[in-house]
Symmetry: C2
Amino acid sequence: MIAHTPEPPYYAVIFSNIRTDIEDGYKETSMEMVTLATQQKGYLGHESARNDLGITISYWDSLESIRIWKQQTDHLLAQRMGREKWYSAYKTRICVVQRDYAFGL
Amino acid sequence: MIAHTPEPPYYAVIFSNIRTDIEDGYKETSMEMVTLATQQKGYLGHESARNDLGITISYWDSLESIRIWKQQTDHLLAQRMGREKWYSAYKTRICVVQRDYAFGL
């Protein structure tokens, strides 16, 4: 569940979001987007948790890989449906991971 | 719930963790650490969610603020108890947030 990422530097996209109460394809599309992300060039892993707030972090090898994933056709459609139906608010943060350390991994 | 952070660049500490089944002061200490963090110099906000995986992200104005918070006495004690009792595994990632964008905020 904790992503096995390489030595820094690498990149993280933090997606913090609040859901509407509209289900309508949300779960299916979420799962499809995870599958699709894992197939993208430069994908390194992801982590996800949700209570009232949802947090999904995906890890990438470069800003170019993030840019291509953001523009992927099915992902663009999912982003639009996210704004129209599934999310009342979100914030996306593009980060460089400079340093990391672990316990018990 | 979504942190109101300033214009990038700023810093993020992503703490991805898996709990043991030991409660013993976990909730109390978690709440104390949140309170304490909000009082630190350079603290900008935090976000948290948990299912099987827990993710807590704190946002900071500089690496120096993160360093001081990591070394804060009560926080050092909480980190030690975390390793001894509350977490079976965790990964901490120190990041620079380079870019962000929001919807519905």
